[in-house]
Symmetry: C2
Subunit: 457 residues, 2 copies
Amino acid sequence: MRVLQAELTWWQGSLARDLLLGVTADGRFEALEALRPDDTLQRLPGQLLLPGLVNAHSHAFQRVLRGRTEYAATGPGQDDFWSWRELMYRAAERLEPDTLHTVSRQAFVEMARAGITSVGEFHYVHHDPEGRPYADRLELSRAVIEAAREVGLRIHLLRVAYARSGFEVAQNPRQRRFIDPRPEDVLADVTALQGAYAGDPLVQVGLAPHSVRAVPREWLATFAQAQASLSAVHMHVSEQPAEIDACLRETGLRPVELLAELGLLTPRFTAVHGIHLSKAEVQLLGEAKANVCACPTTEANLGDGVIPADQLLAAGAEVCLGSDSQARIDLLEEARRLEEHLRLIRQQRAVLDAGGGKVEGLAARLLHAATAAGSRALGEDVGATGVPADGFTVDLHHPSLRGFNEASLLPTVIFGAPREAIREVWVAGRRIVEQGRHPIEVQAADAFDAVVNRLFG
Amino acid sequence: MRVLQAELTWWQGSLARDLLLGVTADGRFEALEALRPDDTLQRLPGQLLLPGLVNAHSHAFQRVLRGRTEYAATGPGQDDFWSWRELMYRAAERLEPDTLHTVSRQAFVEMARAGITSVGEFHYVHHDPEGRPYADRLELSRAVIEAAREVGLRIHLLRVAYARSGFEVAQNPRQRRFIDPRPEDVLADVTALQGAYAGDPLVQVGLAPHSVRAVPREWLATFAQAQASLSAVHMHVSEQPAEIDACLRETGLRPVELLAELGLLTPRFTAVHGIHLSKAEVQLLGEAKANVCACPTTEANLGDGVIPADQLLAAGAEVCLGSDSQARIDLLEEARRLEEHLRLIRQQRAVLDAGGGKVEGLAARLLHAATAAGSRALGEDVGATGVPADGFTVDLHHPSLRGFNEASLLPTVIFGAPREAIREVWVAGRRIVEQGRHPIEVQAADAFDAVVNRLFG
């Protein structure tokens, strides 16, 4: 058996020194008492081994927007989420299967280099630029999944359902590639994709009703019926006040109230964002033990607001993290900003501390959000099936981490480590990043440059 | 003459390709039309050369706190700026000249690696642990200045004046190392330090009345008299609501109103933080063309709140940036978060855009905050004396930057570049970081580890 031995390992909620971690044939980690004669040992001196980061909400193709939307598109003081969305649609309009693959692969390489081992890809571009299904209806989904496979990431493709532009909103022609006529078409695609990748343990397929604005009540009811066969259901929820007003006008209910009434709130449901929530909605998400996915760098970039993660956790919900728009790809930054954004608006510190002055409480909770909580949101029942051999290491000699002791190490990593401190990354026991580099990173980036220059100038 | 030629250079507000930048004998950059026979050319292919980042507000020694204050020290839901401050005082109590030097040097090495070429060090630990002046009154100031010299940074030491614990507040014994009996002692130290470093163009010395809580009106009046001889006056202003209430009780004025009445608001005055400002205070700072130094990562870490930089800029103030508590040391992150924190609370995008849809407006404004605005706050009159040969390069082939065009490059760097994309750093024409590494980084970090372990376990 291959055995990893880092100087320090975060294992079952605490730090262990010189822990022997065997990699099983089915790609899981197993703590060992001692080496056995046939074991091959890989020592990782000067490194801290952490569980792989789970990026529970990604739109990989939005990587092409980085740096291209940071101006007032609609005039000074008028730019917001909705004007950004029009810029984003311009990018979505031009991608074809090959270019979507190239662009997604670049985002996935950057994820791997950031210690991300698993991605929930909220995938909503399905049809050709005229809105007609491709000959193979699944072609764009496959392009994204194959990009993740090439990089070596675990992927949970969340096939998006999109019915309309919104309640009492004229159809936006820029959304035609997202839209299907019937919810049954969406479910059939999910089933077909599940079948196509049934043999790959690194690929799962779930469902993502886009949002209450894009998916009407009747569609949601159909999906609620189908949810027993789905590994995960993700949905954008309450990212912007305007969508809540529209939902109230259409249904008389706030978005989370509507989802609760339809029976969609379960531990396999993930509300992405969940910013503008009433107290009652926080309670509903908590009582259902649902997941809420925070995407702090995107929520800051888009001016969405701050997720009340403290209230959600107190109510019983799980909170996980996503890189969303790829403005940056750094899940440790998402973790620290989950807490830091709350500090800004609450004007307190240690908001998400588990309480009681336990030094490692807060950092461990943020690491949990960046790892196990994400796995749960992606339908991976970590406890039941053993610990996947997904992990990454941090260079303990990096200048930014110096001066730590064992109590302060995890907080130093979560609050202070830049991307460059990340050294090695494994997915299902296979090393995909070595000394900070992914083997295809240059090739992937050159191809990405060529596509972006051709399509967007 | 030594000549640098990067693939792209940000020069006088726009991008230039293959610009020839001569380094003059007195350490300034000069754009050249063509190479001359005796010039030695250093090409920087695949790199973007940017002006050096100016860290206008630093407490270098607080680097020892990184990762050590991220828990609820005073119980769940009770932790805030003031409880953090007690933890910080515990660190300040234990440093002696040699250990302060070692700790400061580590922070300065991390700054250099982050592209920072100039630091405003707000230095407030002056006396021995019993509160008695050292035999050489300037010993701790010298320790900090020498650390910056060793690293090669430009430093503006802002010698802090500290009179008391606060208005109607019992003396806190943890502050005894900061306190002087008379304002004249402080001014004498400033003059002595100016004299001691008069021969080093990389060292300046200014004054920093700590805050309205620590410095009473009479001291401030004395400093206002002396300000013509000072290169810069910095002060913590309105970081926390409690200090505003106390100032109103003591003087009947809000902090900025008090400073205006005393004549302290000038273009050489910098209000550090400036978060909880009335509209009238924003106007006062603007009319005086004063500087406001935002420290977004620290303001998030400490739960301070968000600086109204949009209102301050509109009123005529300059806004610069600082790493403050060293929770992280990444001035590009400070720049992007200046804008992003505003987006979170205003729920808009492109808040600080210069307006009019000019693509590079916002990023150029944030770069200005991270460079020229900081120089101005540190009393460096860049326009009058030429452009210092302070700069850093970014690797254009870094995965995080790929896909840029010339319009999107600066926004991509400001909003998307991690620290590791920074390659070379020059101060006054001397290269202090080469291929991302500082020559003394290992030695400095080992010494830092030893000090931190000995003093703080």
